[in-house]
Amino acid sequence: MILTGPEITAAARDGRLRIDPFEPDQVNPNSYNVRLGPRLLTYTSPVIDAHRPNPTRSTEIGPDGFVLQPGELYLGHTLEEVGSDTFVPLLFGRSSVGRLGLFVEITAPIGDIGFHGQWTLMLSPVRPLRVYSGMKIGQIMFFVSVGSLDLYRGKYQSAAGPLPSGYWRDLTATGAANSVAEVA
């Protein structure tokens, strides 16, 4: 079951979910509109390596906005910290943003119960697109879960700002050494 807007508001008030800052006028009938934060990260090496930490460059979106280019991947973030120890969150771009040809997340709209923090957005436009800090970019919906709870304790907990992929953190020391050897 998907939460209605009034239930999202009630749950934000009684603590079953947390959205900070919370603005009542960003509540929709079945979702909440989240805003784009000011920081963007781009990977700087020509090839992203799943097994290694990848260097990034940080950009602040100025008052005149920032033009996203097709073919580039921008890691952005929500202005809001969003999470719940009760409900399963799902994040997508808003339709107004999709109609501008902007992908706001890639492949992973489902959040974990127990994750709290700013959500990293995976921005990739179909056409060059100027975006603005603070614009309402995404929608988070919440689903009722079934079963006992095992809260998120993962590597992105309490994220502040955009976070690059941490796949390399999951590798064992041996696995990492092997991957380095393969590259060498």
């Binding site: 906005g65 808003r94 943003v97 040809g101 309402k136 929608q139």
Partner: protein
Amino acid sequence: MILTGPAIAAAHAAGEISIDPYEPQRLSPNAYDWRLGETLRVCSGDLDAATPTAYEEIVLPETGLVLEPGLLYLGVTYERTGSERYAQLINGDRTTGALGIWVHVSAPLGHAGHAIRWTLEIRAARPVRVYPRQTFGKLVFLHTFGAASSYQHHGLKYTDTDGIGTSRLYEEIPGGPR
């Protein structure tokens, strides 16, 4: 909870779900298999969230149209769908995905109270020919939890969309259209 095909049929018969035109053979085990509409808007320029989008509108010929990678196409569902009781989720289907077509980039959510022909945000991985009224995706219906709130009473932007809607995000950007 997601409605099964028979539950969608029952809700349609009870007037809790509207699908127009409605064809019972388009019901699948837990979805309704919707079709691509007959027009597309092609966006080939640079876009700005603070500015209305320029586009060219094309009527899809019966012989089909080749979608090109790198362009943004806004389409529309052939069906108008709505429900005051259930929320809706729209997606492509496995067949369309295997052709390398993204049919919907943004939130697949139809809020309770939506009664629309859905605007589609279409992107192709490879050149691919599409045809008017071809089956394009699946629409599922979800039970909601909590006091109801209808999209029709929110003063939101796309309450009665009957065609392709370009983005009206520029209405929200401080300073208005540039």
